[in-house]
Amino acid sequence: MTDYYYLIPIAIALGLTGLLAFIWSLGSGQYEDLDGAAERILHQEEDEPLS
């Protein structure tokens, strides 16, 4: 029973971390061009997103 007190916060904190990571990646434009990202990996040149 006392296991709850640390297992549940851990579970929720992990989920929350994932959520925040997703919102951050959305905000930084990583989903702007999914098709392009799939192709760019095949090219050797230097590559940075246009901020």
């Binding site: 029973m1 709850y4 549940i8 579970a11 929720i12 989920g15 929350l16 994932g18 959520l19 997703f22 919102i23 959305l26 905000g27 702007e32 061009d33 999914l34 098709d35 392009g36 192709e39 760019r40 095949l42 090219h43 040149e45 997103p49 246009l50």
Partner: protein, 749 residues
């Protein structure tokens, strides 16, 4: 014709790229640090290699800091130093084999609604999965103490999720309630909020049942539908705004020294002296002051043959100057020009058309009162029968939760998302779901001729002439960009051994050259020769004043036109042609396609025809491309325009097709009709679900577990039914289209 004209030609050609450069500068925005940012639409990008080529080519241009391709939206973002001359983006891309055009500053902004929806979706997804995890433990028989703890935890997760993700629905529901109407979001909001309030109360009093899972997973499901819906619409919208603009946005103001300066079209005032180079569109209604040329008015009036322009000719805004440079006097402001008149006609037509109510809203208007009355009746019945207030309110809320239109909320958008996607793959852009619904209802189709049924470029028909004469004509014609010349050069093979000297293009008249000792002329009959007999031909070839070949031209039919008309007729639709072109051309096409045709219609006549049909109870689909079609596109029940259409027409149309073939029109109609059937099936499914679920809820047997299973089950059923649409056939085979393209209007004659 004097030597001065030649000088003007050279000046105009040199300034050709200047006009584009100036447009680019006007359309660019400040990116900070002295840099300007320009967004270009490049529809031809489809692979990684294209992407690398474009980025390399553009980065190598002087003045360019950075270029990046977005493959998903087929756009290129370029940052360049504003202090330097505008780099030749468009020309460079053209050299690399890509057509590019400018993007408006407004339309290249991001999409805030979409990222808001995605965030709301992520939050509700996170919350619903965690709450569901806790709920499963409760359903599997947690003891009372753990159950209360889990309910409390669920409440803590649900509250922020509801406040954040639920806002999408609450705002829309509130907006519609404030205007005294009801939409699908009203019952959704009421259901979710009541479920949350009841669960909160149950948690506080340590009751056995809480519906946090139902409330939040409902939001999650509905947000999925809404996000997909928005994504499809946005994709179609950005594909349509990415098309080339046909109107002029800068005008060349003639200077005293023979040069010119660029001014925005909006600043043109009547009486200003403007230059219109060959290849430019006329910016405002104007009168020719100096010069001779041929004018393509097909987009303005639907007339397919080029018109001659000479001193005193009246030009309408939007016409294309083909061969010679012109100096014109502006007759009107941009806001009083032909284009503006069309916009006014369009607005008038739109006011005549009653606002369309979407199926989902109509369903909600019927559904919401029934559900709410049932809940109220359940509450009154239980309270009266048992006197137990708490029990009565619990059952009433359970009725609302179980009937909360999850399936209904997904029933319509899911089908429309699948249908739009299916059409998108076939190159047909649907502006919104309402367009599909309207398209499914039409029973009459009006087709424009020039640019819609016909491809807009003339097709050569040789009338007379021997082999040598024809090869001379081909050699001569290959030097000009006049549509008739291009048609001749395309159809005939020049003889490489021929030597023609001193080829000159005489704007408005034709081409002239020396062949041995004789003067060869290819052009207007009255100019090329003194013989009267040739007047009925469009173009003749003369040698020393004697006609040696005559040519005539007909419109080339757009690929798939015959199949499209056939398919529309077999769908049971009445099809007719309404055109602004001459009687003879239109009637010939009508006979060929076996449908009624009306010619020489003014833009307002087309609208009048639609209003007549509407008065007779018909629902009209208008298909057209010209400026003259724009008011009719706005007046019709539904409208389709090809991607080559004038800008205003494209904006007025519900559907825009990007492919060349007209087969897109019956395809859109067929898919719209099929999706209407599926929407109805889905609505029936949702009703059937309620017919079973409501008595169970009213009887008081609904627990949170039953609610969760019933709601997910009905949603999944509706989504699966919608997915059946993606399986239907109807893609035109490319082989068939090519065969169609070769077929001429002439073939039947």
């Amino acid at each position: 014709m004097s030597c001065c004209d030649t000088g003007l030609v050279v000046a105009a050609i040199a300034a050709g790229s200047g006009a584009i450069g100036e447009e680019i500068r006007l359309a660019s925005r400040d990116a900070g640090g002295g840099l300007r940012q320009t967004d270009l639409s490049v529809p031809g990008v489809y692979c990684g290699a294209c992407m690398a080529t474009i980025e390399r080519e553009l980065s190598n241009l002087p003045g360019v800091e950075h270029a990046r391709v977005n493959l998903s939206t087929k756009r290129v973002t370029v940052r360049w130093r504003g202090s330097e001359p505008v780099p030749a983006f468009i020309e460079t891309l053209k050299g690399a084999g890509f057509d590019a055009h400018l993007f408006d500053v407004e339309s290249s902004q991001g999409d805030p609604v979409f990222s808001e929806l995605i965030k709301a979706l992520a939050v509700s997804g996170f919350a619903s999965s965690n709450i569901m995890l806790l709920s499963v433990s409760i359903w599997s028989g947690a003891d009372a103490e753990s159950r209360n703890l889990f309910h409390l935890l669920s409440a803590f997760i649900a509250l922020p999720a509801l406040a954040y993700s639920g806002c999408v629905f609450f705002r829309s529901a509130w907006r519609s309630l404030r205007h005294g109407r009801t939409n699908m979001d009203v019952p959704i909001s009421i259901g979710v909020l009541l479920a949350f309030a009841l669960s909160l109360y149950e948690t506080v009093v340590r009751g056995p049942h809480a519906y946090f899972d139902a409330a939040i997973s409902l939001l999650f499901f509905l947000l999925i539908g809404r996000t997909l819906d928005h994504m499809m619409r946005e994709r179609a919208r950005s594909a349509v705004t990415g098309l080339a603009r046909l109107g002029a946005r800068v005008a060349r103001l003639a200077g005293d020294d023979g040069g010119h300066t660029f001014i925005p079209v909006a600043e043109v005032r009547p009486g200003m002296l403007l230059l219109v180079a060959a290849g430019d569109r006329v910016p405002v209604d104007a009168t020719v002051k100096q010069g001779v040329s041929d004018i393509d008015v097909s987009i303005v009036s639907g007339e397919s043959g080029p018109q001659a322009a000479e001193i005193g000719s009246l030009l309408r805004a939007g016409s294309l100057n083909l061969t010679g440079p012109l100096t014109v006097v502006a007759n009107a402001n941009a806001s009083d020009s032909f284009l503006a008149e069309m916009v006014r006609l369009m607005e008038a037509a739109e006011q005549g058309r009653s606002a369309y109510r979407r199926i989902a809203d109509r369903a909600a208007a019927m559904y919401a009162p029934v559900v709410h009355l049932t809940a109220l009746a359940a509450f009154a019945g239980w309270w009266f029968a048992t006197g137990d207030f708490h029990r009565a309110i619990t059952i009433a809320i359970a009725v609302l939760i179980i009937t909360c239109p999850c399936a209904l909320g997904l029933a319509v958008p899911m089908v429309q998302v699948v249908a739009s996607r299916r059409l998108f793959e076939a190159g047909v852009m649907v502006k919104d779901g309402g367009a599909l619904e309207k398209l499914a209802e039409i029973d009459t189709v009006l087709l424009d001729k020039t640019g819609t049924l016909t491809a807009g470029d003339p097709q050569l028909v040789v009338r007379t002439g021997d082999q040598q004469a024809l090869s001379i004509a081909a050699a001569l014609a290959s030097r000009s960009s006049h549509p008739y010349s291009r048609a001749i050069a395309q159809a005939l093979v020049p003889d490489g051994a021929l030597s023609l000297d001193g080829i000159i293009e005489r704007p408005g008249l034709g081409l002239e050259a020396r062949f041995g000792a004789d003067v060869i002329k290819l052009g207007r009959p009255s100019w090329a020769s003194q013989q009267d007999a040739a007047e009925e031909s469009s173009v003749v070839l003369s040698r020393a004043g004697r006609i040696i070949a005559t040519f005539d031209f007909h419109d080339r039919m757009r690929p798939g036109a015959e199949d499209a008309v056939g398919a529309l007729t077999s769908e049971g639709l009445d099809v007719e042609i309404v055109s602004g072109d001459s009687e003879a051309r239109v009637q010939r096409l009508g006979r060929l396609l076996g449908i009624d045709a009306t010619a020489e219609l003014m833009p307002s006549d087309k609208v009048a025809r639609i209003i007549d049909l509407r008065a007779a109870g018909r629902k009209v689909l208008m298909v057209g491309d010209g400026l003259n079609d724009a008011p009719a596109l706005a007046a019709a029940h539904a409208s389709i325009a090809p991607s080559s259409a004038a800008d205003v027409g494209r904006q007025a149309a519900d559907v825009v097709f990007l492919q060349e073939s007209l087969i897109a029109v019956p395809l859109a109609v067929r898919i719209a009709r099929r999706s209407k059937r599926l929407v109805h099936e889905n609505l029936m499914l949702a009703v059937a679900y309620n017919v079973i679920a409501v008595p169970v809820a009213v009887a008081g047997y609904v627990t949170p577990l039953v609610a969760a299973v019933a709601m997910s089950g009905s949603s999944i059923l509706v989504v699966l039914n919608a997915l059946r649409l993606s399986g239907i056939a109807g893609r035109a085979s490319p082989k068939k289209e090519t065969a169609q393209a070769v077929r001429l209007v002439e073939a039947a004659e």
